[in-house]
């Protein structure tokens, strides 16, 4: 059965099956290859912990805002159960983990969205963590890097989750005001309310190859139009052609790209150094 490693399984000596080409891969090699299939290049989804390992200077990531916990304000059907199940299974409070980290020694403020937690959906907690990551960057003059992986706003928090679109956008506004660069990394998938808020107004947007990026569910938008959707509709490649992305960058190049960008775009923030 197709199976993508969960955190901690990578060292078990198991085999895993590629979600792209279905070939069987050695788990250890797969991990060394940053969870990218070396046959077909499929970039498998990462948990936030895997993302941290693949990206930042070793041991540099410090989680913050971990004290925030979700409230079922609307008493929405099944929300409390689903949420609790995710919390217990994944040992994290919600879909986004924020913190600070380093790239080649440069401090960055970051937030990482984890699709395994309720589809990475953005409710009050996720919105707050993202906004704090942006504000922290703005206040402490650190570049901000946010990894997106989300189906969109969290329906179960109703209008409160729609408001997170505005709130996170307000966070971007703070970075703009003080000249702090904000880089968004779109990973599979980056959709709907997340795409239509802070994510799309990053200074630089980088996507992983072939990841899904879209405003509406593909079904909705294909229905809604007389215009035929191209075959690669809502993939990173389509979105790049549409002028919405700066670059599509393979995972093995991502750390280098991000380091270079925060080094150059953030140079003016690091007084007394030359970048």
């Amino acid at each position: 059965m197709a199976k993508v490693m969960k955190p901690g399984e990578a060292n078990g000596g198991n085999f895993v099956q590629c979600k792209g080409c279905k070939k069987t891969l050695f788990a250890s090699e797969f991990k060394d290859n940053l969870f990218v299939c070396n046959y077909c290049g499929h970039h498998h989804r990462l948990t936030w912990r895997q993302r941290v390992e693949c990206t930042f200077d070793e041991g540099s990531f410090k989680p913050l805002d971990t004290e925030l916990v979700s409230v079922d304000s609307l008493q929405f059907p099944e929300y409390a159960e689903k949420h609790t199940a995710s919390v217990e299974k994944l040992d994290q409070n919600d879909s986004v983990v924020g913190g600070i980290a380093q790239l080649d020694g440069i401090d960055v403020s970051t937030a990482i969205s984890d699709f395994t937690f309720m589809g990475g959906s953005m409710g009050s907690v996720a919105g707050e963590i993202i906004t704090r990551a942006l504000e922290r960057g703005a206040e402490q003059k650190m570049p901000v890097i946010i990894f997106c992986a989300s189906g969109g706003a969290r329906m179960q928090e109703g209008l409160l989750s729609l408001m997170q679109m505005a709130k996170t956008t307000a966070g971007v506004h703070k970075c703009r005001e003080v000249g702090v660069p904000f880089i968004a990394v779109f990973t599979d998938p980056t959709m709907a309310g997340v795409l239509a808020s802070y994510a799309s107004i990053a200074d630089v947007i980088i996507a992983e190859p072939r990841c899904l990026i879209g405003f509406a569910g593909a079904r909705v938008s294909k229905q809604a139009q007389v215009v035929k959707a191209p075959d690669d509709f809502q993939t990173a490649e389509f979105v790049f052609r549409s002028g919405m992305l700066d670059r599509i960058v393979e995972r093995r190049e991502m750390r280098g790209m991000l380091t270079s960008l925060v080094s150059m775009f953030g140079a003016h923030l690091r007084e007394g150094t030359n970048g």
């Binding site: 609307l74 209008l159 409160l160 729609l162 679109m165 505005a166 808020s197 994510a199 405003f215």
Partner: protein
Amino acid sequence: MANSWKEWERPLLDLEDGVLKLKHLAARELDPAKKAALEKRIEDFEERIRSFIEVKYSRLGPWEEVLLARAEPRPYTLDYINQILPDFRELDGDRRFGADHAIVAGPARFDGQPVMVVGHQKGRDIKERAYRNFAMAKPEGYRKAIRMFEMAERFRMPVITFVDTPAADPGVESESRGISEAIAASMLSMFELTVPVVSIIIGEGGSGGAIGIAIGNKVLMMEHAVYSVIPPEGCAAILWRDPGKKAQAAAALKLTSASALEFNLVDEVIKEPFGGAHRNAVEAGESIQAAISKYMGELQKMSPSELKEQRYQRFRALGIFETE
């Protein structure tokens, strides 16, 4: 469960139709006795209408609020503009790709003072509905809005936005021209404003398409408007794999003006005329005018930087969570 406002109000609409016909008859009746009898019947009918409205409107559930918010005869943005914003000069174009008639925009006067107006515009007949794309704006619409916000900033004009859209246009073309970026950039440009902004949800506040132009210092909501992160039909389809359970979804989503006020997501609910804004558009317009007047008055006492900061703090504070 009714599927449309018309279906839900059918008995009431029939009564109102009856009154109209009776009035027509009475007007042409020459025999005073018969005329008096007709007028008595009219009075009876009107009393029945009143009590019917009273009963029906006192028991409105969330789904009925959705139907009302979507009702075709509800006043739309241009109706309010024509009533309370004289000298409106519609401007158009995103300077990028196209003209988008799902959003109307331009300068006008409010209480004698120049303001910038931006609002979704629905169509009343089939032809206008197509022309307005059912008030589902494409990227061009939001980019036109941004252009207007920027002019409002340069020319120190307060901004008034009217929100009334089922959603932003979700089509392939919209995606390929960056509808997500357009919505987000529109919100961002509203956060940058140092002039007063009042936003009013007048009908459907549909998700990202709505909030894209709803970053006000004050956000008001008509009594029978709805404001939601997802249409109830879509929510039901996801949650129960049954779009028919839209009434349950509407209830779960807490999309009414009362809920929005309870969660402090809007600053005031504007009471609608007896039987809804569609029964008395002029009175609805007057209520909106009074509300805008009040809040503009408050906001104009604030400095440009205070206005920006207050708007930031207003939205920054939204969200409910606990701390472990």
